[in-house]
Point group: C2
């Protein structure tokens, strides 16, 4: 008999997140930053971001840059689109020395990141988020993936970018509904990790909704700081999933017609209702977050009622589930969530879940 052991310690990695209005026009800066990573580039964008920013960026980076686009939307974030993009790269002979740049919202950064993670077993990857949601969430932290009919992001990798380039002023081109969707994740960052960010959001509703550059840059920067800090702490990144067990289930139950941010906003309330029932969270904090979400114009409306059975079935494949039982991030107070034995999510009594879902149907549905 023989027994061997393989011991692996990967070297530490780090990457910068540059946040500045007008960044995408800084030709010299972009060239310097990107040419330090690779000598040839493939820009992946959706059709909209390709025409808005892709061609200009391609011009800045020069000849050895390919611009590939695909039709946007969660419905196209699939294994089929991934395969199509890979085949374009393969047939043109792009090798492992290619750097992939993701230019777009969360759909683009998730999909292009997954392509980068698996092309030639991994090539350098840079994110250039154009939606508020992608700026403070999808573009950093390394989660990549595609959807299947069985759920969102069921197939994917954790793969870190080499650089994140954020131009906060790009959000001025977003529809208001999409902007509000991004704000939900910023509120979430405040709730799980930083009460002062929540307060800032509370006192800056008007300046933020009017896209004041300074306010925008501040909340994006703070939000990124919180996200990075949690990602760096490993297991604690689970906190970022606050509101998402219920949120993802609602997206699935509405065939993704309910936007991610709106679904997460409802998820935040439903999961906080559980914490409320369990005596972890105070009623006044619950009301505060409900009010703030409403002041930012989030609809907080279900399109129809969803049965307990349908909801729990939709949660079954949630990646935090243990033996098919869903788990939730449970808030204890503004800026802090419950941890137990090193885990930052927990299952709840069936009655607690049922009561929270009944509250959701009664309070948020329908006309």
């Amino acid at each position: 008999m023989s027994q061997l052991s393989c011991h692996l310690q990967l070297p530490p990695t780090s990457y910068d997140i540059v946040i500045r209005c007008g960044l995408l026009q800084e030709e010299a800066f972009l060239r310097k930053q990107l040419l330090a990573l690779a000598s040839r580039f493939v820009l992946i964008a959706d059709e909209k971001t390709a025409s808005l920013y892709g061609k200009a960026l391609q011009k800045i980076l020069g000849e050895k840059t390919l611009l590939l686009s695909f039709p946007g939307g969660e419905v196209n974030k699939t294994r089929a689109t991934k395969e199509h993009l890979e085949d374009r790269l393969l047939e043109q002979g792009w090798g492992s020395d290619t750097c992939i740049l993701a230019l777009g919202g969360g759909v683009v950064t998730d999909l292009a990141g997954f392509v980068a993670a698996t092309y030639c077993r991994g090539v350098p990857f840079v994110t250039i988020p154009t939606s508020l949601m992608a700026m403070i969430d999808a573009s950093l932290g390394g989660k990549t993936g595609v959807n299947t009919s069985y759920g969102k992001n069921m197939i994917g990798c954790v793969y870190q970018p080499k650089l994140v380039l954020i131009d906060p002023c790009l959000v001025s081109s977003l529809p208001l509904r999409e902007l509000r969707n991004g704000i939900v994740e910023i509120i979430k960052h405040g709730l799980i990790a930083d009460a002062s960010l929540f307060s800032y959001l509370d006192t800056h509703v008007d300046t933020l909704l009017s896209l004041d550059p300074e306010t925008l840059s501040y909340v994006i920067s703070e939000s990124c700081r919180i996200k990075i800090t949690l990602v760096e702490q490993g297991p604690k990144r689970t906190l970022l999933n606050f509101g998402h067990t219920v949120g993802h289930a609602l997206e699935k139950l509405t065939d993704y017609t309910l936007p991610h941010g709106e679904a997460v906003a409802i998820g935040i309330l439903v999961e906080s209702h559980m914490a409320l029932q369990m005596g972890l969270l105070q009623q006044k904090v619950f009301e505060k977050m409900q009010n703030l979400l409403a002041r930012y114009g989030l609809p907080l409306k279900l399109p129809k009622r969803f049965s307990y059975a349908a909801c729990t079935e939709a949660m079954q494949l949630d990646k935090k589930s243990l033996l098919g039982k869903p788990r939730f991030v449970l808030l204890e107070e503004m800026g802090s969530a419950k941890s137990c034995d090193g885990a930052y999510c927990a299952s709840v009594e069936e009655s607690v879940l049922e009561t929270a879902l009944t509250w959701m149907n009664d309070a948020l549905c329908c006309n």
Copy 2:
């Protein structure tokens, strides 16, 4: 302007490689080892290994074990097979607490490993190699992937198993040609890292080819030790690619009708011919390896002549290529290869590559 940095240091990981004849019959041991990793299992096998070992293993692991099989062969190691397996898992509600066991040769461990790496962004993974090649190469080190029409393993991940279970005596069920293919990689391990393993192979041709359990266990164990040591050293794992720049090109040029081991055996000679021309390697070492490969019955025959242009085009997408220029591991002496500025492969003068390929066509082709 704001600039943040994300610093990541993943915790060290380690895994055991257990090597013992009869291991797959040790019910109590298998249950103990595997139930420590997860409570439910999906066994992925090809049709042959599913019927040879899969059902017995499924019985040992109990109810919560699914056996999934697919038609074997490199031609089925594709994105389409991966998607098919994923959909089977998704539709049956297997979650992120599922452990995937790969039971088979390199095709199975590469494909199942890639499924494990990306299912729910990564689930625990165990390899149970059944071919000699998989025991000493594909089952450990973490390389996973699938083929495309543009080349082998072009899409994949590096993803480490949690455990490797090797029963050397399983190789008795292999056809002789497949056994010889595995021996090529063991010879390669001797050449790049351990002259004493090469000597042992030189003095044990008959006992190894007659599958003496002690000889088999020894060469498998030594080969795994060498592979692990190189993998642990990061960049040095490139040495494992000795013979593979040319080998992979020959596989592609023959539409994968030339088996991997035979292609690598020829690749070892062609790449050593380059080292010979460059004055790095002595003629007598070159002859020694040529003799040993022949004594193990490797055919060392090209099916037809391949032009310089066809060969270099086939190498263009090799993952070691830099700006489309192929690179090779260059042997300096028995057990040691050239390193330069921390890289363990290098490009060569066009004339050197051309002369080596001419030698290949003249010496190894055709009838």
